[in-house]
């Protein structure tokens, strides 16, 4: 609701500002090279959390924590991963990992089982297959070392 209104407002702003944009004239006499340029990107919007109602009791509550899992890649095995991995943690954790080599995902699933994940033995293969297919490097070259992390540029 809120978000839709926000996006509509942003879109209106975009249309409103484009005609007035100085973007097409790079050398204005006043030095202004570009102004009033927007790109629609709703992923940057944040909805505020509702403040929890105040009271003077001995109970200190912050209300519910917001849950907004980043969806997994679509594919065979996705539902198994969602079912079993989500018992203990959101699938958001999977997508934020670097693209690890396939053998890594087998080790990671084994580690989770060691930690207590109740994954039936017959499901392990399908879960590992899914993770390897969607969260390992696209081309499985013999583990090319990742470039040393350096600050951008």
């Amino acid at each position: 609701m809120n978000r839709h209104r926000f996006m509509a407002a942003a879109a209106a702003l975009l249309l409103w500002t484009l005609p007035g944009s100085a973007g097409s004239t790079p050398t204005n006499p006043d030095g202004l090279s570009e102004a009033g340029v927007y790109a629609l990107d709703s992923s940057g919007l944040l909805l505020p959390t509702s403040p929890y109602p105040g009271n003077t009791s001995s109970t200190y509550s912050v209300g519910a924590y917001p849950l907004a899992p980043t969806p997994l890649a679509r594919g065979t095995g996705q539902e198994l991963v969602e079912s079993y991995c989500s018992i203990c943690h959101s699938v958001t954790l999977i997508g934020v990992q670097p693209r690890f080599p396939p053998e890594f995902w087998k080790k990671e699933v084994d580690k989770m089982i060691h930690l207590g994940a109740p994954i039936p033995t017959e499901m392990v293969g399908q879960i590992v297959d899914y993770l390897q297919k969607h969260y390992s490097p696209v081309k499985t070259q013999p583990s090319a070392p990742e470039p040393k992390p350096k600050p951008s540029p």
């Binding site: 917001p66 959101s90 934020v96 540029p153």
Partner: protein
């Protein structure tokens, strides 16, 4: 979205939005300091960098380190397990001291306030895996930039006062700390509960406090309300949140969280090679048993703005160490060829961030590599070379900040 909130938004998104493909050819500002992830807002917090929504893992955006004390609303959050308290009733809550003690204690919040002398320490709380995303080859875990840390003024009760009151008996080898957070896996499995132990002979025990106040306020729920263990100079892994049980153990703690997780290579730099790990003969120590290695960071400039030639700026940053505070911070503006001493800000204590600053006027347009290197009270200096270990722990390489200096005419 103005002011602080505006500056705290991740910069890469703005650039990405310009061509909509995510493959911009523009030179990006330094995306490395903070991970390029979406922000999320949770109760009692400002929008923070979201690593995970369940369990909650959030990082502190870089501009908040402009303040030596990290605001509570911006302080990073890291849970292992997802059953995190939403509400705590202080009329029922008790801190228990039990196990191998002469007189087990059950203390209410009110008793902690009224029956013990309050003490205060300013101390850095840093995740053992802070900066993990810099390890090459990459290792699993929260892919922190530098946002898994914060500095706060903690007030509470001395751990030793509690232990003396309870009378720890001979034969005690360790003290185990456990909080109210737990996990959904079966009881007895590692992901069901999180507890950490410190050796009974560890001198750090004398510095520990059970904190009920953070920067002069109650702890935010996600930073451990109502009390958390503060272990100055050590990694957060042992700063147990929602602390409710302190247990004197007469046998060593052999849990997953002590013997398998949070293990560092047992050498001075905590560094090994993947090949050495593969031999399976690696000697390790608990990360909770060693001081945090010395580190320093640029807060400004942060690369988000192009600098202007011959326009003076103040280069500003923070440094800390678990070993005797900060002795000096050196800054290089030429990629490490020459170094100048930065001026240190007033000292808030040996466990705090130490602010530092250096005036700088770039004399020529171009791309500059700024570096900062701290030396701690024990004479340890940050290494120029990276370290590697399988857990992605204890990173402390010299930081580099790339800045662009533009022409003025």
């Amino acid at each position: 979205m103005t002011g602080l909130l505006g500056t705290a938004l991740p910069l890469p998104r703005l650039v990405r939005a310009e061509d909509g493909t995510g493959s911009s050819a523009l030179s990006l500002p330094d995306t490395h300091w903070n991970a390029a992830l979406p922000m999320a807002q949770v109760p009692q917090k400002l929008p923070l960098i979201r690593f995970s929504d369940r369990p909650i893992v959030l990082g502190t955006p870089r501009p908040f380190f402009d303040s030596l004390l990290t605001p509570n609303a911006a302080f990073f959050v890291r849970y292992h397990l997802d059953v995190i308290p939403n509400a705590i009733d202080l009329s029922h809550w008790r801190l228990l001291v039990r196990g191998n003690v002469a007189k087990p204690l059950e203390l209410s919040f009110e008793q902690l306030l009224s029956r013990f002398e309050p003490v205060t320490v300013v101390a850095v709380n840093q995740c053992t895996g802070n900066s993990r995303s810099r390890f090459a080859p990459r290792v699993p875990g929260t892919q922190w930039g530098n946002e898994g840390m914060g500095n706060a003024r903690w007030t509470g009760v001395r751990l030793m006062d509690l232990l003396h009151r309870a009378g720890v008996r001979p034969g005690t080898v360790a003290l185990r700390f456990q909080g109210l957070d737990s996990g959904r896996s079966a009881e007895g499995t590692p992901a069901h509960s999180y507890a950490k132990s410190l050796d009974v002979g560890d001198p750090i025990l004398a510095q520990c406090i059970v904190a009920y106040q953070m920067n002069g306020e109650p702890l935010p729920m996600l930073n451990g309300f109502p009390v958390r263990l503060v272990v100055p100079g050590r990694f957060s892994t042992c700063w147990v949140k929602h602390l409710s049980w302190i247990e004197a153990l007469s046998e060593p703690d052999r849990s997953h969280w002590m013997l398998e997780a949070y293990r560092l290579p047992d050498n001075a730099r905590h560094s090994v090679t993947p090949a050495e790990v593969a031999t399976g003969k690696l000697a390790t120590i608990a990360a909770s048993s060693v001081p945090m290695p010395v580190r320093s960071f640029f807060v400004r400039p942060d690369g988000s703005s192009k600098l202007v030639v011959r326009l003076p700026i103040e280069v500003k940053g923070i440094a800390f160490s678990g070993s005797g505070g900060i002795r000096q911070v050196e800054v290089s503006t030429d990629g490490g060829r020459s170094w100048r001493l930065a001026r240190l800000d007033p000292d808030l204590g040996p466990y705090s961030f130490r602010g530092w600053r250096l005036p700088w006027t770039p004399q020529r347009p171009g791309v500059y590599e700024l570096r900062c290197r701290a030396t701690d009270g024990k004479g340890n200096a940050q290494p120029t070379e990276p370290i590697w270990n399988p857990g992605g722990y204890a990173w402390n390489q010299v930081e580099t900040q790339t800045v662009f200096v533009g022409e003025a005419a």
